[in-house]
Amino acid sequence: MIDDKYIKLINLEIDGAISDKDRNELKRYLESHPDALEDYNALRNTADMLDGTEEIEPPAALSRNIIESIFERHSEAKGRCLSTGGVSRRTFRWRPGFAFAAGIIAGLFLFASAMLFVMKSPIGEGNLYGTITGSKETAVQRTAAIDGPGVQGSVSTRRSGETIVTELEIWSPKEILVQFIHGDDIYFESVRTERPGTPRISVFAGRIELALTGEGEYIIGLNDRSGSRSPIDLRITSNGDVLFEERIVQESER
Protein backbone atom coordinates (compact mmCIF):
# COMPACT_ATOMS: atom_id res chain seq x y z
CA MET A 1 0.00 0.00 0.00
CA ILE A 2 1.51 3.30 -1.06
CA ASP A 3 1.17 6.26 1.24
CA ASP A 4 -1.13 8.98 -0.22
CA LYS A 5 1.66 11.49 0.14
CA TYR A 6 3.88 9.48 -2.21
CA ILE A 7 1.07 8.87 -4.70
CA LYS A 8 0.82 12.64 -4.97
CA LEU A 9 4.59 13.04 -5.32
CA ILE A 10 4.70 10.35 -8.01
CA ASN A 11 2.08 12.23 -10.03
CA LEU A 12 3.79 15.58 -9.53
CA GLU A 13 7.04 14.02 -10.69
CA ILE A 14 5.35 12.62 -13.81
CA ASP A 15 3.99 16.09 -14.60
CA GLY A 16 7.37 17.72 -14.01
CA ALA A 17 5.85 19.79 -11.22
CA ILE A 18 7.84 18.45 -8.28
CA SER A 19 10.39 20.40 -6.24
CA ASP A 20 13.98 19.19 -5.95
CA LYS A 21 13.49 18.47 -2.28
CA ASP A 22 10.40 16.36 -2.90
CA ARG A 23 12.07 14.57 -5.81
CA ASN A 24 14.93 13.47 -3.57
CA GLU A 25 12.48 12.31 -0.94
CA LEU A 26 10.49 10.37 -3.54
CA LYS A 27 13.66 8.79 -4.89
CA ARG A 28 14.62 7.52 -1.46
CA TYR A 29 11.10 6.19 -0.92
CA LEU A 30 11.00 4.35 -4.26
CA GLU A 31 14.41 2.80 -3.61
CA SER A 32 13.12 1.24 -0.40
CA HIS A 33 9.61 0.31 -1.68
CA PRO A 34 9.68 -1.96 -4.75
CA ASP A 35 5.86 -2.08 -4.99
CA ALA A 36 5.77 1.71 -5.14
CA LEU A 37 8.51 1.70 -7.78
CA GLU A 38 6.49 -0.74 -9.88
CA ASP A 39 3.44 1.49 -9.59
CA TYR A 40 5.53 4.52 -10.47
CA ASN A 41 6.88 2.81 -13.61
CA ALA A 42 3.40 1.76 -14.71
CA LEU A 43 2.04 5.26 -14.23
CA ARG A 44 5.00 6.78 -16.00
CA ASN A 45 4.42 4.46 -18.97
CA THR A 46 0.74 5.39 -19.05
CA ALA A 47 1.60 9.09 -19.06
CA ASP A 48 4.27 8.60 -21.74
CA MET A 49 1.77 6.70 -23.87
CA LEU A 50 -0.73 9.54 -23.57
CA ASP A 51 1.88 12.20 -24.29
CA GLY A 52 3.22 10.23 -27.22
CA THR A 53 -0.14 9.77 -28.92
CA GLU A 54 -0.08 11.62 -32.21
CA GLU A 55 -2.47 14.43 -32.90
CA ILE A 56 -5.32 13.71 -35.25
CA GLU A 57 -5.21 15.76 -38.43
CA PRO A 58 -8.47 17.53 -39.20
CA PRO A 59 -9.46 17.80 -42.89
CA ALA A 60 -7.22 20.30 -44.67
CA ALA A 61 -10.19 22.44 -45.72
CA LEU A 62 -11.78 22.61 -42.27
CA SER A 63 -10.38 26.01 -41.30
CA ARG A 64 -11.38 27.56 -44.62
CA ASN A 65 -14.88 26.07 -44.45
CA ILE A 66 -15.35 27.35 -40.92
CA ILE A 67 -14.22 30.85 -41.87
CA GLU A 68 -16.46 30.97 -44.92
CA SER A 69 -19.53 29.69 -43.12
CA ILE A 70 -19.08 32.11 -40.23
CA PHE A 71 -18.70 35.18 -42.42
CA GLU A 72 -21.47 34.06 -44.74
CA ARG A 73 -23.78 33.76 -41.78
CA HIS A 74 -22.54 37.02 -40.32
CA SER A 75 -23.04 38.96 -43.54
CA GLU A 76 -26.61 37.63 -43.76
CA ALA A 77 -27.25 38.82 -40.22
CA LYS A 78 -25.63 42.15 -41.01
CA GLY A 79 -27.87 42.54 -44.02
CA ARG A 80 -30.89 42.21 -41.78
CA CYS A 81 -29.57 44.73 -39.29
CA LEU A 82 -27.01 47.33 -40.20
CA SER A 83 -26.09 48.10 -36.64
CA THR A 84 -23.02 46.09 -35.64
CA GLY A 85 -22.20 47.45 -32.22
CA GLY A 86 -20.30 50.48 -31.09
CA VAL A 87 -21.83 53.61 -32.54
CA SER A 88 -24.39 52.89 -35.20
CA ARG A 89 -24.48 54.76 -38.48
CA ARG A 90 -28.20 54.89 -38.05
CA THR A 91 -27.70 57.36 -35.20
CA PHE A 92 -26.40 59.84 -37.70
CA ARG A 93 -28.83 59.03 -40.47
CA TRP A 94 -32.03 59.79 -38.66
CA ARG A 95 -31.43 63.21 -37.30
CA PRO A 96 -34.07 65.80 -38.06
CA GLY A 97 -33.87 67.16 -41.58
CA PHE A 98 -32.77 70.63 -40.73
CA ALA A 99 -29.92 69.39 -38.57
CA PHE A 100 -28.83 67.11 -41.38
CA ALA A 101 -28.87 69.94 -43.93
CA ALA A 102 -27.00 72.22 -41.55
CA GLY A 103 -24.51 69.46 -40.90
CA ILE A 104 -23.93 68.96 -44.62
CA ILE A 105 -23.31 72.66 -45.17
CA ALA A 106 -21.02 72.92 -42.16
CA GLY A 107 -19.30 69.71 -43.18
CA LEU A 108 -18.68 70.92 -46.72
CA PHE A 109 -17.31 74.18 -45.40
CA LEU A 110 -15.02 72.41 -42.93
CA PHE A 111 -14.01 69.86 -45.53
CA ALA A 112 -13.10 72.60 -47.99
CA SER A 113 -11.18 74.43 -45.27
CA ALA A 114 -9.39 71.28 -44.24
CA MET A 115 -8.51 70.41 -47.83
CA LEU A 116 -7.24 73.94 -48.39
CA PHE A 117 -5.14 73.64 -45.28
CA VAL A 118 -3.83 70.25 -46.29
CA MET A 119 -2.94 71.50 -49.77
CA LYS A 120 -1.15 74.54 -48.35
CA SER A 121 0.65 72.51 -45.71
CA PRO A 122 2.15 69.41 -47.20
CA ILE A 123 3.10 66.83 -44.69
CA GLY A 124 6.74 67.14 -43.84
CA GLU A 125 9.21 66.87 -41.07
CA GLY A 126 9.00 70.58 -40.37
CA ASN A 127 5.51 70.58 -38.95
CA LEU A 128 5.53 67.22 -37.21
CA TYR A 129 6.63 66.04 -33.81
CA GLY A 130 8.21 62.70 -33.29
CA THR A 131 9.28 60.19 -35.83
CA ILE A 132 6.73 60.66 -38.56
CA THR A 133 8.34 61.76 -41.76
CA GLY A 134 7.66 62.48 -45.35
CA SER A 135 4.67 63.29 -47.51
CA LYS A 136 4.85 60.00 -49.34
CA GLU A 137 1.66 57.98 -49.13
CA THR A 138 2.04 55.28 -46.53
CA ALA A 139 0.28 51.99 -46.62
CA VAL A 140 -0.69 49.15 -44.37
CA GLN A 141 0.25 48.05 -40.86
CA ARG A 142 2.51 50.92 -40.20
CA THR A 143 3.34 51.64 -36.59
CA ALA A 144 4.84 54.93 -35.51
CA ALA A 145 5.54 56.77 -32.30
CA ILE A 146 3.65 59.84 -31.16
CA ASP A 147 5.84 62.25 -29.30
CA GLY A 148 4.44 65.72 -28.81
CA PRO A 149 4.36 68.30 -26.01
CA GLY A 150 3.11 66.32 -23.01
CA VAL A 151 1.76 63.52 -25.14
CA GLN A 152 3.44 60.25 -25.97
CA GLY A 153 2.13 57.10 -27.50
CA SER A 154 2.01 55.10 -30.66
CA VAL A 155 -0.26 54.70 -33.63
CA SER A 156 -0.64 52.03 -36.24
CA THR A 157 -2.88 51.93 -39.27
CA ARG A 158 -4.00 49.13 -41.45
CA ARG A 159 -6.14 49.24 -44.55
CA SER A 160 -7.18 46.13 -46.35
CA GLY A 161 -10.29 45.64 -48.45
CA GLU A 162 -13.17 47.54 -46.91
CA THR A 163 -11.57 47.68 -43.51
CA ILE A 164 -9.52 50.53 -42.11
CA VAL A 165 -8.24 49.95 -38.59
CA THR A 166 -6.33 52.47 -36.52
CA GLU A 167 -4.84 51.44 -33.20
CA LEU A 168 -3.78 54.12 -30.78
CA GLU A 169 -1.92 53.92 -27.55
CA ILE A 170 -1.84 57.16 -25.58
CA TRP A 171 0.33 57.68 -22.53
CA SER A 172 -0.97 61.04 -21.41
CA PRO A 173 -4.12 62.28 -19.72
CA LYS A 174 -4.45 65.14 -22.27
CA GLU A 175 -7.26 65.23 -24.78
CA ILE A 176 -6.32 64.00 -28.23
CA LEU A 177 -8.27 64.85 -31.37
CA VAL A 178 -8.16 62.19 -34.05
CA GLN A 179 -9.40 63.27 -37.49
CA PHE A 180 -9.99 61.18 -40.56
CA ILE A 181 -10.45 63.36 -43.63
CA HIS A 182 -11.74 61.48 -46.63
CA GLY A 183 -13.90 61.52 -49.72
CA ASP A 184 -17.57 60.95 -49.05
CA ASP A 185 -17.39 57.17 -49.07
CA ILE A 186 -15.95 56.22 -45.71
CA TYR A 187 -18.17 55.20 -42.82
CA PHE A 188 -17.44 55.18 -39.15
CA GLU A 189 -17.91 51.69 -37.69
CA SER A 190 -17.00 51.87 -34.02
CA VAL A 191 -14.34 52.56 -31.46
CA ARG A 192 -13.22 50.11 -28.83
CA THR A 193 -11.35 50.90 -25.67
CA GLU A 194 -10.90 49.38 -22.26
CA ARG A 195 -11.55 52.80 -20.73
CA PRO A 196 -14.97 53.42 -19.23
CA GLY A 197 -17.23 55.81 -21.14
CA THR A 198 -17.43 56.55 -24.84
CA PRO A 199 -15.10 58.93 -26.67
CA ARG A 200 -16.74 62.01 -28.21
CA ILE A 201 -17.40 61.22 -31.84
CA SER A 202 -18.44 63.63 -34.60
CA VAL A 203 -19.21 62.58 -38.12
CA PHE A 204 -19.29 65.18 -40.87
CA ALA A 205 -19.39 64.90 -44.62
CA GLY A 206 -15.84 64.00 -45.50
CA ARG A 207 -14.55 64.05 -41.95
CA ILE A 208 -14.76 61.91 -38.85
CA GLU A 209 -13.47 63.21 -35.54
CA LEU A 210 -12.90 61.45 -32.25
CA ALA A 211 -11.93 63.27 -29.08
CA LEU A 212 -10.11 60.81 -26.83
CA THR A 213 -9.36 61.70 -23.26
CA GLY A 214 -6.88 60.00 -21.06
CA GLU A 215 -4.29 57.28 -21.20
CA GLY A 216 -5.37 54.10 -22.84
CA GLU A 217 -5.57 52.03 -25.93
CA TYR A 218 -8.13 52.63 -28.61
CA ILE A 219 -9.02 50.68 -31.73
CA ILE A 220 -10.96 52.68 -34.30
CA GLY A 221 -12.69 51.02 -37.22
CA LEU A 222 -13.76 52.71 -40.44
CA ASN A 223 -15.35 51.08 -43.42
CA ASP A 224 -15.06 51.76 -47.13
CA ARG A 225 -18.25 49.93 -48.05
CA SER A 226 -18.51 51.41 -51.50
CA GLY A 227 -15.00 50.21 -52.30
CA SER A 228 -14.00 53.70 -53.42
CA ARG A 229 -10.43 53.13 -52.18
CA SER A 230 -10.05 56.87 -51.87
CA PRO A 231 -7.19 57.96 -49.62
CA ILE A 232 -7.86 58.95 -46.03
CA ASP A 233 -5.80 61.55 -44.24
CA LEU A 234 -5.29 60.75 -40.60
CA ARG A 235 -4.39 63.67 -38.38
CA ILE A 236 -3.84 63.53 -34.65
CA THR A 237 -3.61 66.77 -32.69
CA SER A 238 -3.54 67.96 -29.12
CA ASN A 239 -4.24 71.58 -28.22
CA GLY A 240 -3.66 72.52 -31.84
CA ASP A 241 -0.27 70.81 -32.00
CA VAL A 242 -0.03 68.32 -34.83
CA LEU A 243 1.28 65.06 -33.37
CA PHE A 244 0.86 62.83 -36.37
CA GLU A 245 -0.22 62.95 -39.99
CA GLU A 246 -0.46 60.14 -42.42
CA ARG A 247 -2.25 59.30 -45.62
CA ILE A 248 -3.79 55.86 -45.39
CA VAL A 249 -4.03 54.15 -48.76
CA GLN A 250 -5.13 50.75 -49.96
CA GLU A 251 -2.73 47.86 -49.48
CA SER A 252 -2.50 47.16 -53.18
CA GLU A 253 -1.43 50.74 -53.83
CA ARG A 254 1.56 50.42 -51.62
Binding site: I14, L50, T53, P58, G161
Partner: protein, 177 residues
Protein backbone atom coordinates in the same frame (compact mmCIF):
# COMPACT_ATOMS: atom_id res chain seq x y z
CA UNK B 1 -4.76 46.08 -22.30
CA UNK B 2 -3.58 42.49 -22.64
CA UNK B 3 -2.43 41.34 -26.06
CA UNK B 4 -5.13 38.66 -26.19
CA UNK B 5 -7.81 41.26 -25.47
CA UNK B 6 -6.47 43.37 -28.32
CA UNK B 7 -6.71 40.41 -30.65
CA UNK B 8 -10.37 39.92 -29.77
CA UNK B 9 -11.06 43.65 -30.21
CA UNK B 10 -9.45 43.60 -33.64
CA UNK B 11 -11.92 40.95 -34.77
CA UNK B 12 -14.61 43.62 -34.73
CA UNK B 13 -13.04 45.41 -37.67
CA UNK B 14 -10.62 42.98 -39.13
CA UNK B 15 -11.80 39.73 -40.65
CA UNK B 16 -8.17 38.70 -41.03
CA UNK B 17 -7.70 38.73 -37.24
CA UNK B 18 -10.41 36.12 -36.80
CA UNK B 19 -9.19 34.09 -39.75
CA UNK B 20 -5.76 33.91 -38.10
CA UNK B 21 -7.33 32.59 -34.90
CA UNK B 22 -9.26 29.93 -36.79
CA UNK B 23 -6.17 28.88 -38.72
CA UNK B 24 -4.07 28.65 -35.56
CA UNK B 25 -6.53 26.84 -33.33
CA UNK B 26 -8.51 24.55 -35.64
CA UNK B 27 -6.22 21.61 -35.01
CA UNK B 28 -6.07 21.81 -31.18
CA UNK B 29 -9.80 22.49 -30.92
CA UNK B 30 -10.52 19.59 -33.26
CA UNK B 31 -8.28 17.32 -31.20
CA UNK B 32 -9.97 18.27 -27.94
CA UNK B 33 -13.34 17.52 -29.50
CA UNK B 34 -12.14 14.27 -31.02
CA UNK B 35 -10.64 13.02 -27.75
CA UNK B 36 -13.85 13.90 -25.95
CA UNK B 37 -16.36 12.34 -28.37
CA UNK B 38 -14.24 9.82 -30.29
CA UNK B 39 -15.85 10.56 -33.64
CA UNK B 40 -14.15 12.29 -36.55
CA UNK B 41 -17.29 13.80 -38.11
CA UNK B 42 -18.68 14.94 -34.78
CA UNK B 43 -15.34 16.51 -33.90
CA UNK B 44 -15.55 18.53 -37.13
CA UNK B 45 -19.03 19.75 -36.20
CA UNK B 46 -17.93 20.67 -32.67
CA UNK B 47 -14.92 22.55 -34.04
CA UNK B 48 -17.14 24.56 -36.35
CA UNK B 49 -19.63 25.32 -33.58
CA UNK B 50 -16.80 26.35 -31.26
CA UNK B 51 -15.53 29.01 -33.65
CA UNK B 52 -19.05 30.09 -34.54
CA UNK B 53 -19.82 30.67 -30.87
CA UNK B 54 -16.48 32.37 -30.27
CA UNK B 55 -17.23 34.80 -33.10
CA UNK B 56 -20.74 35.50 -31.89
CA UNK B 57 -19.63 35.92 -28.28
CA UNK B 58 -16.55 38.04 -28.98
CA UNK B 59 -18.28 41.02 -27.40
CA UNK B 60 -18.48 39.24 -24.06
CA UNK B 61 -14.91 37.97 -24.13
CA UNK B 62 -13.52 37.95 -20.60
CA UNK B 63 -10.04 39.44 -20.58
CA UNK B 64 -9.00 37.14 -17.74
CA UNK B 65 -8.76 34.38 -20.32
CA UNK B 66 -6.09 33.86 -22.90
CA UNK B 67 -7.48 33.37 -26.39
CA UNK B 68 -6.60 29.67 -26.35
CA UNK B 69 -8.17 29.03 -22.94
CA UNK B 70 -11.31 30.91 -24.01
CA UNK B 71 -11.57 28.74 -27.13
CA UNK B 72 -10.76 25.51 -25.32
CA UNK B 73 -13.40 26.29 -22.73
CA UNK B 74 -16.00 26.68 -25.48
CA UNK B 75 -14.73 23.51 -27.16
CA UNK B 76 -14.99 21.47 -23.94
CA UNK B 77 -18.49 22.79 -23.27
CA UNK B 78 -19.58 22.07 -26.83
CA UNK B 79 -18.19 18.55 -26.55
CA UNK B 80 -20.14 18.01 -23.33
CA UNK B 81 -23.30 19.41 -24.93
CA UNK B 82 -22.78 17.12 -27.88
CA UNK B 83 -22.41 14.04 -25.66
CA UNK B 84 -25.54 15.00 -23.70
CA UNK B 85 -27.47 15.59 -26.91
CA UNK B 86 -26.42 12.22 -28.29
CA UNK B 87 -27.53 10.55 -25.09
CA UNK B 88 -30.96 12.16 -25.32
CA UNK B 89 -31.29 11.40 -29.03
CA UNK B 90 -30.38 7.75 -28.73
CA UNK B 91 -32.62 7.32 -25.68
CA UNK B 92 -30.15 4.64 -24.71
CA UNK B 93 -26.97 4.70 -22.73
CA UNK B 94 -24.65 6.51 -25.06
CA UNK B 95 -21.15 5.25 -25.02
CA UNK B 96 -18.92 6.93 -27.58
CA UNK B 97 -16.35 4.20 -27.05
CA UNK B 98 -18.75 1.79 -28.74
CA UNK B 99 -19.03 3.84 -31.87
CA UNK B 100 -17.54 2.29 -34.93
CA UNK B 101 -14.40 3.77 -36.33
CA UNK B 102 -14.52 5.05 -39.86
CA UNK B 103 -11.91 3.72 -42.30
CA UNK B 104 -10.25 7.11 -42.05
CA UNK B 105 -10.03 6.80 -38.28
CA UNK B 106 -8.64 3.30 -38.52
CA UNK B 107 -5.94 4.57 -40.83
CA UNK B 108 -4.94 7.40 -38.56
CA UNK B 109 -4.97 5.38 -35.38
CA UNK B 110 -2.34 2.81 -34.82
CA UNK B 111 -2.98 0.03 -32.34
CA UNK B 112 -1.52 1.80 -29.33
CA UNK B 113 -3.26 5.09 -30.05
CA UNK B 114 -6.54 3.24 -30.57
CA UNK B 115 -6.28 1.45 -27.26
CA UNK B 116 -5.32 4.61 -25.45
CA UNK B 117 -8.30 6.42 -26.98
CA UNK B 118 -10.64 3.59 -25.99
CA UNK B 119 -9.32 3.69 -22.44
CA UNK B 120 -9.91 7.45 -22.35
CA UNK B 121 -13.48 6.91 -23.50
CA UNK B 122 -13.99 4.55 -20.57
CA UNK B 123 -13.27 7.41 -18.18
CA UNK B 124 -16.02 9.60 -16.76
CA UNK B 125 -16.33 13.04 -18.34
CA UNK B 126 -14.66 14.89 -15.45
CA UNK B 127 -11.62 12.65 -15.66
CA UNK B 128 -11.60 12.65 -19.45
CA UNK B 129 -11.53 16.44 -19.66
CA UNK B 130 -8.44 16.84 -17.48
CA UNK B 131 -6.59 14.02 -19.25
CA UNK B 132 -7.33 15.53 -22.67
CA UNK B 133 -6.20 19.00 -21.63
CA UNK B 134 -3.13 17.78 -19.77
CA UNK B 135 -1.81 15.07 -22.05
CA UNK B 136 -3.04 16.13 -25.49
CA UNK B 137 -2.84 19.89 -25.16
CA UNK B 138 -0.03 19.87 -22.58
CA UNK B 139 -1.55 22.58 -20.41
CA UNK B 140 -0.55 23.41 -16.86
CA UNK B 141 -2.71 22.67 -13.82
CA UNK B 142 -3.55 26.39 -13.60
CA UNK B 143 -4.56 26.65 -17.25
CA UNK B 144 -6.77 23.58 -16.96
CA UNK B 145 -8.34 25.05 -13.82
CA UNK B 146 -9.12 28.27 -15.70
CA UNK B 147 -10.69 26.43 -18.62
CA UNK B 148 -12.79 24.11 -16.47
CA UNK B 149 -13.44 26.74 -13.82
CA UNK B 150 -12.25 24.52 -10.99
CA UNK B 151 -9.47 25.04 -8.43
CA UNK B 152 -5.99 23.82 -9.27
CA UNK B 153 -6.16 21.38 -6.38
CA UNK B 154 -9.18 19.72 -7.94
CA UNK B 155 -7.41 19.55 -11.30
CA UNK B 156 -4.59 17.61 -9.67
CA UNK B 157 -6.83 15.21 -7.77
CA UNK B 158 -8.90 14.49 -10.90
CA UNK B 159 -5.83 14.05 -13.04
CA UNK B 160 -4.06 11.79 -10.57
CA UNK B 161 -7.05 9.52 -10.13
CA UNK B 162 -7.74 9.56 -13.91
CA UNK B 163 -4.21 8.36 -14.60
CA UNK B 164 -4.52 5.56 -12.07
CA UNK B 165 -7.80 4.51 -13.68
CA UNK B 166 -6.21 4.61 -17.11
CA UNK B 167 -3.32 2.49 -15.89
CA UNK B 168 -5.78 -0.09 -14.57
CA UNK B 169 -7.91 -0.03 -17.72
CA UNK B 170 -4.93 -0.42 -20.02
CA UNK B 171 -3.67 -3.33 -17.91
CA UNK B 172 -7.12 -4.93 -17.95
CA UNK B 173 -7.15 -4.69 -21.73
CA UNK B 174 -3.93 -6.63 -21.80
CA UNK B 175 -1.76 -3.69 -22.64
CA UNK B 176 1.73 -4.24 -21.39
CA UNK B 177 2.81 -1.44 -19.08
Amino acid sequence: MAEDEKIIMRIEFDRGAFEAIVEEYTKPVFNIAYRMVNDYEDAMDITQTTFMKAYEKRGSYDSRYKVFSWLYRIAVNESLNHIQKRKRESNLTYDPADRRLTPEQIMIQNETAGRVQNAIMDLGLDHRMVVVLKHFQHLSYAEIGTILDIPEKKVKSRLFSARHLLKEKLSAKGFKQ
